[in-house]
Each structure stands twice: as C-alpha cells, then as structure tokens.
Amino acid sequence: MNIVVCIKQVPETTEVRVDPETNALIREGVASIINPVDENAIEAALQLREGHGGTVTVITMGPPQAEEALRQALAMGADEAILLSDPASRGSDTLATSYSLAEMVRKIGEVDLILCGKQAIDGDTGQVGPGLAERLGIPQVTFAIELSVEDGKLRAKRVLDDFFEVLEVKLPAVVTVVKQANDPRHPGMRNVLKAKRAEITTWTLADLEADPKQSGFDGSPTQVIRVWPPEKRGGGKKIEGTSEEVAEELAQAIKEMDIAAG
C-alpha cells in the first residue's frame, strides 16, 4: 500500500508573540516543529505499512527550511520525502494549498491512502484535508481515531461531538487523524543520522506542471487583513483566608449569581 502523509512545519505556538507596536508576529527565536498531530498521521501511516507493506511518502509545501520537518518524518521511518518549495506558493490559503498538494499527489502517481493531521496549530483550520480530497475527487474521512484497511477498503472510527461513527470507504481516500489516534514513536538514533544524510526531493510548481495562478496569493480567495493580540480580560477579586473562609465567601458569591441549576 502506498501512503502519502501531508505534513506542515509550524512555529511552536506557545512561543508566538505579537509586537505590541507593529502588531507583527515575532517569529524570531521561535522553534519550528512538525505540526504535532501530523506526527500522529505519520505514525498511523507507519503502522499501516507494518501491517500491509508498501511505502510511506511524506510531503510538505513550504520554504526550503521545511526540509527539517521532512527529515524528522524520515527519522520516524518514512521512506521518502518531497518538498514543494516555490516562491509563487507563498501566501497560499487552504484552497491554494490543497491545490498544490493535490498536484503533488498526482505527480507521485499510485497512491492508495493520503493521511493528514486533523489541523495545524498555527492556522487551526482543518480545511486542507477535505480540500485535498475534493481536488483529487476521492472520499474523505475526517477526525479518525482508529483506522484499518482490508481488501482495498478503509474502515475508520471518527470522533464527533458526542458520538463515534465508523465509516467504510473505498480507497484511495484522504483521512485526517486526531491526536488520540496513537502515540507517535520517537525516532531511533540510527534513523536520525540516516535522515540527516537523506536526499530530499524538491519540486517547484513547474516540476508539477501546475498553474502558478492557482497557488500562492493569486490562488487564494481569502486574505488576512489584520492580525492583533487578543484583549486581556482584567483580573478580578482575590479571595483570601483559610479554606473554610474562602469556601464560605465563594459559596455566598455563587448563591448571589442566582443561576438556575440544570
């Protein structure tokens, strides 16, 4: 089974700050990591390969330094890594990104399954997986927590608001996985060293014979016009004293709120 995993390199969001003067993102000194839930997608791919054989190809779109994320995926055990790096792709929104990734998958050729993480921690959109499925004209299964493949059919358990749903679809398909799906492996050091020396295939839009107008700013219907830090809610009242006193005062305050129970 040939599996493609789409990953994204993202800044460690807990460290992202905004310059209060300019409202610009301060990216300096912020570590770049593989989007965490993408590691779950890689792990799911590796587990399927262990059971069914085949290859795991990891792809991403981004600046040349996104190669680092691909090397981490190789260290985890992926067979091949491909980077789409083209200045014309800069500023891609989710529609443009799904276009470029779909073109990459087409060029790779025989693909049985495409895995993505549920969403990226920088954009938090979760739109690229379904968009990619649509571009490729194949079914999608979002929010998968368990997946298995048998006789060319994929069976996946999805986590929805307050229920699970088990779906069966024909392959090829796009599946987005949630964090609870598995526990991504840590790479062995032998693989870390091997991945460091591995050849990373780099493509441009021209290599894909893709339409540059569908990528980057040109191919993106949405446009970010302003970015700013969220307002801080002012601090409130401190309740101090012994546990007994605190509980008393708090119970009184709650009682005064007069919220109907239920």
Binding site: A75, R185, H186, P187, G188, M189, R190, N191, V192, L193, K196
Partner: protein, 382 residues
C-alpha cells in the same frame, strides 16, 4: 579540546531531548515511586538506539564517542534519574567486553548489549571488598572446560534484571589484585542466583541486588581478558564508570537547578518574587557555576578517553567534583523551596536523596581523592 558538537551529535541530542521532555520527564515521579524496574523506559532506550552509543557499528552500536554518550546520559538523568542510572550501570558491562573481549565474545555478548536487546551489569563490590577492590573473595577455580564460581556480590545495579554480567573474581587469592580474573556470566546459569534487593535512601526503582554464586559453572570461553588480568578490567571499567557517575550527578544537579529557578520567580514573599533577593540570587549563581564546572570536568574526561589518552585522574576528578556539586546543588534547591522543598509535593527533596548516591557509588569521594592524590603526588614530584 573542543566541545563544539558536530551536526550528528546535535541531531542526536535534539532527538534525545524531545524524548526526555515528552516521555521521561512527565513520568519521572511515577517511575520513582513505583518501586519497580522501569521496563518500559528501558525498552524505549533500546528502541532509540541509546544502549550502545560508544560501541562500533559492526557490533550493533552507533559508533559514536563517549562524549556523546555522556551528553545523552546527562539528558536522561536530568529528566528521569532512575532511567539515567540504568543507562549508567548498563555501560559497565559494555565497556569491559568492548575493551577486553575476543571477537567471538563481542559477537555473542556485545551485540545484544549494544542494541539493548539485553541489559548488562557489573559485579565487583562484595561485603568485604568495597573501597578496597583488591579484597575480592569470590573464587573461580578451573575444572575441565569450566571455571567454578563461589561467593557473592552486593549492591549490584541492574542486578536481577540484567541478562549479562561481568563478574570480577579471584583465581589466586594469595596474589591480591594480581590474582583477579573477569568473567562474563549469563543470567540463568545454574548456581547463579539473586539475593537481597537493598532498600535504599533513594532510587527504589533501581535494583541493587546481591548476586550469589554457588558452584556456578562458567564456560572457559567466558573468561574476559587474561586470567589474573581482572584488576585491569575492573579499573578500566571503573574509569569509564566514573565518567558515567559524574554524568548522572551533573544530570541530577541540573534538574535541581532547573526546578529551583522558575520557583524563585513564582514564589512571593515580602510582596515580591524571591528571585529579587540577593540571598537567592547568590545561591542560583553558585549552583549554575558549579553545574557548568562539573559538566566541563566530565566532558574533559570523556574527551580524553575518546582520544585514547590517560583519563583515570580526570575521571576521578569529574566524579568527585560532580557528585559533591550534586549534593550541594540539590541541598540549595531544597532550601530555595523552603518548607515546600521538604515535602514530597516537589521533586527537589528526591533529588537531594538521590544526589547522595553519587558520593558513594563506584568509589566514594574518599577513594577518588586517593586516586587523584596518587596521580598528583607522582606527577608533580620533580
């Protein structure tokens, strides 16, 4: 001497740090309190190819140096002291086989140790042979194709859990150090049993067990090095072992420092964070300086070993200094936490109990001073 890490070393350390942060550190308290062998962590060390870092690739290792091994060990010890201790004890079986083993012995025993398929341990200490290592009384007598071992070892780290043991015996008690002989003994060999597991001040999850040999027949092929060459095997092993203990000590000292600093910012007294007070600042300054010194001494010893230069004195210095720094740093961390530091709510009291081990194990501070003094008195006597 250049401690700039190569790209390979950096890549390995980054991967190890991530593993430590995500897997080891969050469970460290649990691992300690469980009081049982941390099997899952040990399995992960094997999966991550960390059990044979300095072993040549042909024998299943990573083919890296002891400096890398030490830097990795510090990360492990800093995030989970117990796992770091297992790593440190394991190498005591790896090193003597790597240095003194025949090719057959390396194929048969070094490989599974380097891949982590098997865990190793080293047996030297006996009830009557502590600091005086030459007083070993476990006897090995040749009988046909076998040596017959009788006697017992105590406090053996990884004892009972390890599958492969390097055991120091005497084949000629009359000759003291020159009568000592080393053997590789497999767990499960008839006549080789495990006795008491010590209840200790700290490290309840790390076994320190008695090894009991009763007419235990060990095949001749398992003799390690020369007959009566065991003292050299022991000393060389302890030399590297001291770098390992220094590494563990740096790890626990750093853990204490890294726990204490954020607390100084959070904890307010007299209306301000205690990090504003000079008394606290001076403690933090001393802790940080000493941890750095201890690490540099440790790395120097590892580097000398990697250059095939004499490192016995430097390893003793590193072990002596780092273990005493661990004790001082953890004590200060407890002091910074005040009353909370004395409770089990925070890990610093555990670090303090753990630190004490390093001043005793693999040569007490006093033995290290003897070793260092021997060298210095000789070298500077011009």
């Amino acid at each position: 001497m250049d401690f700039t890490f190569t790209e390979d070393q950096t890549a390995i350390l980054e991967a190890v740090k991530e593993f430590c942060e995500e897997d080891l550190a969050p469970k460290a308290q649990e691992t300690d309190e469980a009081g049982v062998w941390p099997a899952e962590n040990v399995k992960k060390l094997a999966e991550l190819d960390l059990m044979g870092i300095p072993v040549p690739e042909e024998y299943g290792g990573l083919g890296m140096d002891f400096l890398t091994w030490s830097a990795v060990g510090e990360e492990l010890s800093c995030s989970c002291t117990t796992t770091g201790a297992v790593y440190g004890a394991h190498v005591l079986a790896v090193v003597p086989i790597m240095m003194f083993g025949s090719d057959e012995q390396k194929q048969k025993y070094l490989k599974p140790l380097a891949t982590g398929e098997k865990i190793g341990a080293f047996g030297l200490t006996e009830p009557g042979a502590g600091s005086d290592a030459a007083a070993v009384a476990t006897k090995a007598e040749l009988d046909g194709d076998h040596y017959v071992l009788n006697g017992s070892k105590i406090f053996i780290s990884n004892g009972g859990e390890a599958e492969l043991y390097v055991i120091i015996t005497t084949t000629d008690p009359s000759r003291g150090a020159r009568g000592m002989t080393a053997f590789i003994v497999e767990k499960g060999t008839p006549g080789f049993e495990f006795g008491k597991d010590e209840k200790k001040m700290a490290f309840p999850s790390l076994p320190n067990r008695e090894l009991v040999f009763t007419d235990c027949r060990v095949p001749k092929e398992n003799l390690l090095g020369r007959e009566r060459g065991g003292f050299l095997v022991a000393m060389r092993t302890l030399g590297v072992g001291r770098i390992g203990m220094a590494t563990g000590a740096v790890g626990v000292a750093r853990a204490a420092l890294e726990a204490a600093v954020p607390y100084t910012h959070q904890r307010e007294q007299f209306g301000q964070p205690i990090s504003n007070f000079q008394a606290i600042q001076f403690m933090v300054a001393d802790m940080a300086t000493e941890v750095d010194c201890a690490r540099l001494l440790t790395w120097r010893a590892a580097w000398l070993k990697d250059q095939n230069k004499p490192f016995e004195k430097e390893a003793a210095m590193a072990k002596l200094y780092a273990s005493e720094v661990a004790m001082r740093t953890t004590t200060k961390a407890v002091q910074i936490f005040g009353g909370y530091g004395y409770t089990r709510e925070f890990p610093v009291e555990r670090y303090m109990r753990e630190a004490k081990l390093f001043e005793i194990v693999e040569g007490t501070s006093e033995v290290q001073r003897m070793v260092i003094a021997n060298h210095v008195l000789r070298e500077l006597n011009k």
